[in-house]
């Protein structure tokens, strides 16, 4: 770590370095870009993976917390904080020239906090409409419904992107650029479309049937979860995490529980850990199965879709018997799990494992080697390793491009240090690699469950937790490997029973932000297929 501190101090001597839960560096806005550049270009350990970009309102200041990691060693993380005191016209410097992942994140920060980023070529608001009054995540946001009334009047979509650029002399120049060319043939794929996996809105310029340019437009399911969290106690927030990426509901919740447990120093009983991990892996299987099914459906194989959902029901039955929920399992709570496993749990899970293995073979026979399917997937939607890293694409999609990013291996949590499993990595980077990765990960998950299912220890399932949890002042991070990739929770606490700020890192956001790149010059048909292979969940993006 001292090495990194040297690099930081070399780049920005005034930087304030603190050893908190993560190495935290605080700099002035002007110095942010040089610092990040130094970290990015560091030869031995380049911090080239932007985990999260968190807009903050500290009441006296508006700022951003950047969370970086390295593709070489994911366990190395560094938090960079910068803030401006200008609340009227907050301006910070963009890092989009190094991190493509920053594009949508900076736009989101603009929509939520009103901070504009100098040198970001596209400073439209993400998630919210352009004419939204106020910035919701600001502490002084006026939530009066008459300011932003419900309307059914259709709004014109403008493709004009305002931007603030710094010219050579250091002057700020505001300008407006059109996203599309004058005579582009633009079709709207979404928000209400059968194959966008939710309510994503892709403005797609076509050249014949070839995709020329895609503009990602989201927010059609933005529910303001992060703002709601600020007025809820910690146990109440748990329910909202389930509804982010509902396909990996249990894993999301696990992340938040661990974050709170770490901060409040709560010891989770071993039995609860076992149950958590087994449920997580079952959840991952169900998530991957649905992703597989939806991907096949996007390629036009309806029968495969039905088969995938059929097998998924077996997992859901186990969830159902354990805790009553099917999709959203209210299992994890702070300090353990809410329900103990039922007597036949082990039997059911053990029956499921060989059944699922058999079905995986069936999937291979039925679809994975089908010539049409291969034509539709092999060498389609190529994403190189560099692209995956700079867009921060994790999960099976990132690993399909050779980016080793499994949180369970690099930043082990819960029981993952104890179990033995392989990280599934392919280097082709096409749709087929992502497709096969999911099927292989189902097998790995089965393997993990096999190792744990027989020795679930007896004992408590819930540690003693105070009815009202107050986290000590500070910033807390926790990431887990969810179905779609790295899901992370950030909590800033002021010692109150409510969090001061909660931010969720959405793996799907990265998957969507890379779509314009990998779909360029592909056919419209393949655009849908690639979307299926990326497997994003929109409510996770919109929050």
């Amino acid at each position: 770590m001292s090495n990194i501190q040297d690099i930081i101090l070399n780049a920005v001597p005034e930087a304030l370095i603190e050893e908190k839960q993560k190495l935290t560096v605080t700099v002035e806005p002007k110095q942010l870009h040089p610092l990040v550049k130094a970290l990015y270009e560091n030869k031995d350990l380049p911090f080239d993976y932007l985990i999260s970009l968190i807009g903050m309102d500290w009441e006296d200041k508006l700022g951003v917390i950047y969370l970086f990691s390295s593709s070489k060693d994911m366990s190395q993380e560094i938090a960079v904080i910068t803030a401006t005191e200008d609340r009227e016209n907050p301006l910070l410097y963009s890092i989009t020239d190094m991190y493509e992942a920053a594009h949508l994140n900076e736009r989101e920060v603009y929509a939520m906090l009103g901070i504009r980023f100098i040198n970001n070529p596209d400073m439209r608001r993400f998630l919210l409409d352009g004419d939204w009054n106020g910035y919701p995540l600001c502490k002084d946001y006026d939530a009066d419904p008459t300011l932003n009334p419900i309307t059914i009047a259709n709004k014109e979509i403008t493709d004009l992107a305002p931007r603030i650029m710094e010219d050579e002399n250091g002057n700020l120049v505001e300008s407006v650029a059109n996203i599309f060319d004058e005579d582009d043939y633009i079709i709207n794929i979404g928000p209400q479309h059968p194959s966008t996996h939710g309510v994503m809105h892709f403005r797609t310029a076509l050249n014949g049937e070839v995709v020329k340019k895609i503009d990602v437009n989201s927010g059609y399911i933005h529910r303001g979860i992060e703002k709601m969290c600020e007025t809820m106690t910690y146990p109440q927030i748990l329910h909202l995490t389930d509804r982010l990426d509902y396909l990996s509901a249990g894993m999301n919740r696990h992340a938040l529980c661990m974050c709170i447990e770490k901060a409040a120093e709560i010891e989770v009983p071993m039995r609860a850990e076992y149950i958590r991990v087994i449920m997580d892996e079952l959840n991952r299987i169900s998530s991957h199965l649905l992703a597989w099914a939806a991907h096949c459906n996007d390629l036009g194989a309806t029968t495969a879709f039905v088969y995938g959902v059929r097998e998924r029901e077996h997992v859901l039955d186990i969830f159902d018997k354990t805790c009553g929920g099917r999709l959203i399992i209210n299992q994890n709570v702070v300090g353990g799990v809410m329900f103990d496993i039922y007597p036949d749990f082990q039997k059911d899970v053990k029956a499921f494992i060989p059944y699922m293995r058999e079905k995986l073979v069936e999937y291979d026979d039925f679809f994975s080697h089908n010539p049409i399917a291969l034509n539709r997937m092999v060498n389609v939607g190529n994403m190189s390793r560099e692209d995956a890293i700079t867009y921060a694409v994790t999960g099976p999609a990132g690993r399909g491009s050779g980016f080793s990013c499994d949180v369970r291996i690099h930043k082990p949590y819960s029981l993952y240090e104890k179990v033995e499993f392989k990280e599934v990595i392919r280097t082709e980077g096409d749709s087929y690699a992502r497709y096969m990765n999911r099927l292989d990960e189902i097998e790995q998950s089965l393997h993990i469950i096999e190792q744990l299912i027989d020795d679930i220890p007896e004992g408590e399932i819930l540690a003693k937790v105070k009815p009202i949890i107050r986290l000590p002042e500070g910033q807390y991070y926790q990431s887990v490997e969810a179905g779609k990739g790295e899901f992370a929770v950030f909590i800033e606490s002021k010692g109150d029973k409510f969090p001061y700020r909660v931010k969720f890192r959405s793996p799907s956001l990265a998957a969507v932000s890379v779509m314009p790149l990998i779909c360029k010059d592909e056919l419209l048909t393949d655009f849908i297929g690639i979307g299926g292979s990326m497997d994003y969940v929109i409510p996770d993006i919109d929050r």
Partner: protein, 370 residues
């Protein structure tokens, strides 16, 4: 031979009755009207039956149950759909090209009814039969694509437009293959008249009679026929995942019903033509010299034979449809222009050689000669 269940007797009785009681003109008019009603009724009934059958078979492939609430096994499900769609509102859209928009469904349905007319459902059960039957089939079945193109163009909707353009490229390409495949059979049987083609297959179906080239033509016809009907792995024009509903996105109510009916009927028509041309049509299985066997086979009425053979082909078509993912437009056109069409061209020459040199089954083994 005894054929107690055939309808030929009834038809000829009706014919004599009208001829003896009416002037020739009125007899023709009434007979024409009866045929028209019969064809349209058969069209509607077959379509409804097919919709039900497809839903049930789909359910079977997908380990589901399928409709089972209306009647036993849900067999009148399509009737409910029909009633609903008949009285469903037809939305009038302001910004469409009105004439073309309203005309398009009729092109599609008229094309499929016209083709339907030439299918010999059984002995004597054929509305249209003349000496250039095969050319007629090719001609009228191509009218449908005009309807699809008009629908896509006039809807003023970008999805429809893309769907229609895909459909145009696909249909025109595969029409070539289908045409050549049928021509191969014309070379083999030496006639274009549908009834004669059926008659000539009494002891050896064309697909066996012309052995290798005929089998190739049969497979090519099934593939291209499948592609022409916009179904199965070839359903690009209405690719649900991409284009919501393709060229008929903007159609509602009965207009959509027309497209929907025509889609199912076209599937039937392709199977029926393949049956007629390659699988002996309504001819029962016959073996030269086995008179007892032949007699038993003739007891089964010809229309049962016809629907049984067609049914097998339809099942096969559904099987393909629910097993494969959708092709991409470039793969689709590659398949046609780089593989099917060249194979077809060679195949037709091979067939000519086979016929000229007397290598057909009928020529080689007299037992197969009618």
């Amino acid at each position: 031979m005894k054929q107690p269940l055939e309808l030929t007797g009834l038809i000829s009785n009706l014919h004599t009755f009208f001829r003896s009681n009416l002037t020739p003109f009125w007899a023709t008019v009434i007979e024409g009207a009866l045929v028209l009603i019969a064809v349209l009724a058969a069209y509607a009934i077959i379509a409804l039956a097919l919709i039900y059958i497809e839903r049930k078979i789909t359910a079977f492939f997908q380990s589901r149950l399928g409709p089972n609430r209306l009647g036993k096994y849900g067999w009148i499900q399509s009737v409910a759909d029909l009633i609903k769609i008949l009285i469903k509102e037809i939305i009038h859209i302001n910004k469409v090209d009105k004439v073309l928009f309203y005309a398009a469904p009729f092109f599609v349905i008229v094309s499929s009814v016209l083709t339907f007319g030439i299918i010999p459902f059984g002995q004597g059960l054929q509305a249209v039969d003349f000496n250039i039957g095969i050319v007629y089939i090719l001609a009228v079945s191509s009218i449908g694509i005009i309807g699809v193109l008009l629908a896509g163009w006039s809807s003023n909707n970008k999805y429809s437009m893309i769907g229609a353009m895909r459909s145009g490229a696909q249909f025109i390409s595969y029409e070539l293959s289908a045409g050549f495949a049928l021509m191969t059979v014309v070379v083999l049987s030496g006639t274009m008249q549908v009834s004669e083609i059926v008659e000539s297959q009494r002891y050896a179906w064309n697909v066996f009679n012309g052995h290798i080239p005929a089998m190739i033509a049969f497979v090519i016809y099934l593939i291209s026929g499948h592609a022409e009907t916009n179904r199965g792995p070839f359903d690009l024009p209405e690719a649900e995942g991409e284009l919501t509903a393709g060229y008929h996105t903007e159609y509602s109510g009965l207009q959509f019903g027309f497209f929907y009916l025509a889609e199912y009927l076209n599937m039937f028509i392709i199977a029926a033509i393949a049956t007629t041309v390659f699988l002996g049509g309504w001819m029962p299985i016959q073996v030269q010299g086995w008179d007892g066997f032949n007699q038993v086979m003739w007891y089964i009425p010809s229309y049962v034979w016809f629907f049984a053979k067609t049914g097998v082909l339809i099942f096969f078509s559904l099987w393909v449809r629910w097993s494969f993912p959708r092709l991409r437009i470039d793969l689709l056109l590659n398949l046609e222009w780089k593989y099917l069409l060249p194979i077809n061209l060679v195949n037709i020459i091979v067939m000519v050689v086979v016929v000229l040199l007397g290598w057909t089954l009928e020529d080689l083994f007299p037992i197969f000669r009618p």
